[in-house]
Amino acid sequence: MNRQDAKAELIGHMKVLRAFAMSLTRNPAAADDLVQDTVLKAWSKLDTFEEGTNMRAWLFTILRNGFYSDRRKAARETDDPEGNLAGALAEKPAHDGRLQLADFRVAFDTLPPEQREVLTLVGVLQYSYEEAAEMCGVKIGTIKSRLKRGRDALAQAMDLSEDEPIEMTDQVTQSVVSVNGGAAA
């Protein structure tokens, strides 16, 4: 692939790439570091990118591999092999029985990155289970399991469950309408 064409495509993916980094790190500075490393790696390994395949997925794979590599390294240095420290420090959101976006964001932040990653890839970006499994280097069953656990945790954190009626607030209505209207930009 021509490097200038690749650069143009790379630039086109930058904002989504940074948002994906944010979904993993939940920290702007760390997300910027991760994106910077990803761009440098991608640029230096451009010859391994197969033209005609999905560059965004390729970039996501590089980015998440870098994230987990750094995380493992940090966990070894802090003697926290399971990465539990950050989770233990996070606070549960306040409950008021309604799905408030600010509380939802806090709940999302408390999830393990493996679940945030799959929720983002499948729930937000609409990648298939197969595509997400390929990007994450795991089996499809693992993707489904992480997705379910992530959604269950978010529902639980927000005091919502399948057994409880969902209050049809304006926000809920707007959410359904906005999805129905095609959220693709």
Binding site: T61, S69, I166
Partner: protein, 84 residues
């Protein structure tokens, strides 16, 4: 450029053109939709933010970066590196 990989139509499975009443989506679908929509709102907000200056500078200077022939230092092939 499209933000989302595919588009979603929540009522696609239940919509009809016959003028018949639409059945209410199941609670689990409503819940899933509500969660995914909030996730989408968060992601959309973050993906619309301007890039910080240092990333913009990096893109502008990308052409100046020497690309090692063959093996790039510290670079792993995402297709062969498997993580969690």
């Amino acid at each position: 450029m499209r933000l989302f990989h595919k588009t979603t139509n929540f009522f696609a499975a239940v919509n009809t053109s016959q003028g018949t009443p639409l059945p209410m989506p199941s609670k689990s679908r409503m819940l899933k939709s509500q969660i995914d929509d909030n996730l989408r709102l968060i992601f959309e907000e973050e993906s619309q933010a301007d890039l910080p200056p240092r990333l913009q500078e990096l893109l502008e200077r990308l052409d100046e970066i020497d690309v090692p022939v063959g093996v790039a230092s510290g670079v792993s092939d995402p297709k062969t590196e498997k993580n969690s």
